[in-house]
Symmetry: C2
Subunit: 168 residues, 2 copies
Amino acid sequence: MDEVMADPIDKFIELYNRDCALNLTLDQLHGKEIYECVPEEHKDKVWEYINAEGFFRDLKVIPDSQEVIKALTEKYEVFIVSAGMEFRNSLIDKFDWLQDHFPFIGWRNYVLCGDKSIIGADIMIDDRPKNLITFSGERKLLFTSPHNVNILEFERVSTWKEVAEKLL
Amino acid sequence: MDEVMADPIDKFIELYNRDCALNLTLDQLHGKEIYECVPEEHKDKVWEYINAEGFFRDLKVIPDSQEVIKALTEKYEVFIVSAGMEFRNSLIDKFDWLQDHFPFIGWRNYVLCGDKSIIGADIMIDDRPKNLITFSGERKLLFTSPHNVNILEFERVSTWKEVAEKLL
């Protein structure tokens, strides 16, 4: 979900700049994790935001994800798998967000977990190399996100239009 | 989780008898689902209870599950997989219940899903034949629960002590 279907980075930057009166930009996140881009004294803020109730409830939808995933559901059995278990308060937010923005996928096909190595499927689209490394399926697509731009090991997709070209 | 690690039936019977001044017993559930054991006019109650916030928060722990699962974690990589996605309000209750009663299993090994066919593992212990039927792993153990007593298709375990005998 995050950084593939939903955009937590956009919301983090907005909150962070508001609260810390700074000017963090998306460009500064190139090749880095968020917590690497904030000074030591603000590192707790990252966790505070992400752990807050409601953080994941109103994230922006990644462009074209709705249209392409809808088309994918006509050709594949699509499951939405999110490693949201790290953040207790994200669970219901993620459920509600999916119901709002991806109503064509039912709750039967939602998975909230901590470690995606338990998932048995054929194709995985994910922004985290660690999830693709442990995936046993036949095809692994790395969805571009600021933190993974320097990773070369996987077949990369930078937009949902590219996913459509490859899988539809 | 439910009917294997946690006991929702015990709580359901207690609430139902309290609210409807009836005397539903565990014996009457033999070979049946709960909703088959209540009169037509009470069927909504089943869903009302299960959908309520807090229903899954204080369920009793199934006897010996803590000790045996702790021992299993020393020999196997144990994931707790619950098809709780049907009940939005169960998600955080289930998370908190696991933290309380199974603190030796971390959130990385929790999975809340809707359909367990997405799970890739070697052994599954479950009370629902539908979950074992779609499971691709090598060993399937049907954990006895009132609704499944007449099912003959699977290797059966009736207590966690039996699980220990088979897997430890």
